[in-house]
């Protein structure tokens, strides 16, 4: 008979060391007696296990199961895990799929109990704020302390959850099986603790929580069995709000009876006019109001300095819609002022359209980019992002009411038509629902073409498009 002594609680390291030795020596599980530190050995000394036995390779799910089950209070846990590992080592690699196997079933129950305990500690632990005047450099000495009584040896296992969630706070968790302290930089695992004094001290938020708990309860649906299934009595002692439960249950029937007996109020004359009027009034009434909303709103694509609004007379005959502001537009807050804008200006002039008489805007109001060193490289908006902005664009056009909407490039055409448009193939007149439209290329496309005959031809085509657009408007006028 071999005797293995481990530390009290969840001694994962000790178990791992012992297991390596036991596997190396091929010891039968039935020939091992496991004991926690508190249990004195009845067997005297047995031959020590080799200290340098190699690691035992295990499938990942088996390793995870061991880490969990080791936390259980059941004194048999180490023996059961040893049996599991021996079977894995002997070839049953997918042993965890054997759900009906009695050993696997038993371990699954232990695992489930530990996970439930972890979950309940995450859920039912309550911090109290204790001001610490001695330590005032940190957020005015804001400190939190909690007392909790878990069923199993899970205190260390819960630490990642609390550190992750409350990384920016200073806190201490005390339990009868160990404690944790976090100082915003490092975690200290401490010994078992006693329930601290002074936790019932005045904390307005704790009082507020109690009031909230009582108010959110619906007396017409009282069902204490369902409550106790999820929040058994054993947790109530450390839940401040639970003190109110008996009175809440006792008074519920009377409260319901009072509601039912109270004479139903006759429906007053329903006049929805006020509500309907309020709804009608909320729409922006002018372009300036709409622009105020757009300017105040957050970019639906991240990163931009500011929203770039449309520009031009409100009664313009032609509206020109681009893709989105570029680097320079983003900084100046005006549309079409960068290199593409300058090219557009030139083409407009050649086509006989006065820039100041047209309304210029973009489908997307914010600049989207990736930073490369000091440069901000333009990124096309996605189809979803274009839709985020669509409502604003449509409102804008509804205020301007142009005779023709010229879209530059695929993004603008998508925003207006609601479908993806192949600009080079479909350039020319196109109906956009309420608006008569005209599809052409974006000047930045012309800038990307290598200099040469092809580029010059593309520019001439662009000017020709703008000229045709002008003729459409003049013809319509």
């Amino acid at each position: 008979m071999r005797h293995v002594e481990l530390k009290d609680g969840a001694d994962l390291d000790g178990f791992r060391r012992a297991l390596r030795g036991l596997v190396a020596l091929d010891v039968e599980p039935d020939a091992v007696v496991w004991s926690g530190g508190a249990t004195p050995s009845l067997f005297g000394d047995t031959a020590p296990l080799p200290a340098d036995a190699p690691p035992v390779p295990l499938p990942r799910p088996v390793g995870a199961l061991i880490e969990s089950v080791v936390c259980h209070r059941d004194p048999e846990r180490y023996a059961l895990l040893h049996r599991l590992v021996r079977r894995v080592v002997r070839g049953e690699r997918d042993i965890l799929d054997h759900h009906a196997d009695p050993l696997i079933h038993r371990l699954a129950l232990l695992d489930k109990a530990v996970r439930r305990d972890l979950h309940k500690m995450h859920a039912f632990l309550r911090f109290r704020e204790v001001r610490d005047p001695a330590n005032s450099e940190d957020r005015g000495g804001e400190r939190y302390v909690a007392w909790f009584e878990p069923d199993h040896f899970i205190v260390e296992a819960t630490a990642p959850f609390f550190v992750e969630r409350f990384e920016s706070l200073v806190w201490t968790i005390l339990t009868p099986v160990g404690s944790l302290h976090w100082d915003r930089r490092s975690l200290t695992v401490g010994p078992a603790a006693l329930r601290p004094e002074g936790l019932d001290r005045d904390d307005r938020f704790a009082e507020g929580w109690q009031r909230y708990y009582e108010s959110t309860f619906n007396p017409a649906r009282v069902n204490p069995t369902a409550m106790r299934a999820e929040m058994p009595r054993k947790y109530w002692a450390n839940l401040p709000e639970a003190a109110a439960i008996p009175a809440m249950i006792r008074s519920a029937p009377a409260r319901v009876q009072a509601m039912i007996e109270a004479e139903a109020a006759a429906p007053r004359r329903r006049n929805p006019d006020k509500a309907v009027a309020a709804m009608a009034r909320q729409e922006p009434a002018t372009l300036a109001e709409l622009n105020r909303i757009i300017r105040a709103a957050d970019p639906l694509v991240p990163g931009a300095t500011q929203a770039v609004l449309g520009e031009g007379p409100e009664e313009a005959a032609i509206a020109i819609v681009g893709e989105q502001p570029g680097d320079q537009e983003d900084m100046e807050g005006r549309p079409f002022v960068g290199p593409a804008g300058q090219l557009l200006d030139r083409a407009l002039e050649e086509a006989g359209i006065e820039r100041s008489a047209a309304y210029l805007t973009n489908a997307v109001k914010h600049f989207k980019f990736v930073a490369r060193g000091k440069r901000r490289l333009h990124q096309s908006p996605t189809a979803g992002e274009v839709k985020h902005y669509r409502w604003w664009l449509m409102k804008e056009l509804a205020f301007v009411r142009p005779r023709l909407v010229v879209t530059l490039g695929a993004t603008a055409a998508l925003a207006l038509s609601g479908r993806s448009v192949s600009v080079l193939r479909e350039r020319g007149p196109m109906g956009f629902g309420d608006w008569e439209g005209f599809v052409t290329v974006h000047p930045s496309y012309l800038l990307r073409l290598p200099a040469g005959e092809e580029a010059e031809q593309a520019y001439r085509d662009f000017v020709a498009d703008l000229r045709r657009a002008r003729e459409v408007v003049e013809g319509a006028g």
Partner: protein, 403 residues
């Protein structure tokens, strides 16, 4: 926190509690880091349970219970005489952070009565979420109720900050909506669901954040004459057409200051429970609405037994099924076997031939399942077809005999 704020909290929590939704699940993993606060774990946590058996996961409050609308089923309707209160944006932010730091909640579920205008109201809701996220680095869960009458751009903005958006349909049919909620409009509610659903889908494809935990809705059951069949048909449409994550069913419960347009007595709470069970069958067990409804009578579910058992009792020719050879779809239809038990059965039977005691280790519902199952050492024989099978399965608990 002063007394005035405590009083407001009491009023505005009481006013919000009739919304059944409480989930804090479905958000991507996220942490606030050394400068923010909070985390979302994906699964959600219930931090307490009240004596009505409902969980407390999020701080569920209204921004205000003043309201321009006059929906008969709602305690906060314009014509009700309840106490009114109104939080400022900052008060909601402070309450959320204060409770969150004490580990009382997973986050915030904020809704509101309609004040001034739907746009104004929606903007305030959005501002709460934006302040929490941007000014406080709050990484906990935020569920915002969407005001369907608000302008689309506000809903586009709300989705940037919230984990979940929801719009309550409240009543299954447009006719009931007209009758009980004169200012509401069923088609505009569905239009917003469509807008939100589309944005969520696009954002997912384009790997952007927009209401990452999806959208949900709630229907009140028992306030109007809608049958379970029509409620489930509506849910089915919502799941399919708008990709909703959850439909919540809330059995109409008597409210203080009730309107006389409503039934005085609540429907049995069991009805709500059966609807949830049916909803699960719809989403995870491969049942159709018609199959579920056929288990009951006249479009109503059987209140005495769960809808899966009701279906099985009316389709006995399809049982018993062999636990060692039946396909997954058919095992899912066996009363008493849940989806997880079925997955375990399918895995376990690859390695061994299952006997009844093996099945007992995999499922806690064997008592109901055994009449419908064949195992290596078990055949229900005539049990499956016995006329009194229903009575046997739902026999009332026996009284202990006293000597």
């Amino acid at each position: 926190m002063d007394d005035a704020l405590l009083d407001k909290l009491e009023i505005l929590a009481d006013a919000a509690k009739y919304d059944a939704s409480c989930a804090s699940s479905g958000a991507k993993r996220r942490t606030g880091g050394p400068d923010g606060i909070g985390s979302t774990t994906g699964a959600g946590i219930c931090h307490a349970y009240t004596p009505d058996g409902r969980c407390v996961s999020l701080l569920k409050i209204l921004l205000t219970n003043y309201c321009l609308f006059d929906c008969a089923y709602c305690i906060n309707r314009r014509s009700s005489n309840v106490r009114r209160a109104r939080f400022s944006v900052d008060e909601v932010v402070q309450l959320t952070l204060g409770f969150y730091k004490r580990n009382c909640i997973e986050g915030l579920f904020l809704s509101s009565g309609i004040i001034r205008s739907p746009d104004h109201t929606m903007e305030q809701l959005m501002l709460v979420a934006r302040t929490l996220r941007r000014d406080h680095g709050f990484a906990g869960y935020i569920h915002l109720k969407t005001i369907p009458e608000a302008s689309p751009w506000l809903i586009e903005q709300a989705g940037l900050w919230a984990d979940r958006l929801s719009i309550n349909l409240e009543l299954a049919s447009d006719r009931s909506l007209k009758q009980f909620a004169p200012e509401k409009d069923g088609s505009s509610i569905k239009a917003v669901m469509g807008q939100v659903g589309e944005r969520i889908l696009e954002a997912k494809e384009e790997k952007r954040r927009f209401s990452p935990a999806g959208q949900s809705t709630q229907m009140i059951v028992g306030a109007d004459a809608s049958t379970d069949l029509s409620v489930l048909e509506t849910s089915d449409t919502l799941y399919r057409r708008y990709g909703l994550r959850r439909v919540y069913y809330s059995a109409f419960s008597p409210i203080p200051e009730a309107s006389s347009a409503l039934p005085a007595k609540p429907p049995p709470l069991q009805r709500e429970n059966r609807l949830y069970q049916a909803d699960w069958l719809l989403r995870y067990y491969g049942f159709t609405v018609d199959e579920i409804a056929a288990g009951g009578e006249g479009g109503m579910l059987d209140l005495g037994i769960d809808p899966k058992l009701a279906w099985a009792l009316k389709n006995r020719e399809r049982f018993p099924v062999d636990v060692n050879s039946a396909d997954r779809e058919m095992l899912l239809r066996v009363p008493g076997l849940g989806a997880r038990a079925v997955d375990k059965i399918v895995e376990a039977r690859r390695h061994t031939t299952l006997r009844l005691e093996d099945v007992a280790r995999l499922s806690s519902g064997l008592k109901r399942a055994r009449a419908f199952l064949i195992a290596a050492d078990h055949h229900p024989g005539g049990l499956t077809d016995r006329a009194d099978l229903r009575q046997r399965l739902v026999a009332p608990p026996k009284q202990l005999s006293l000597f």
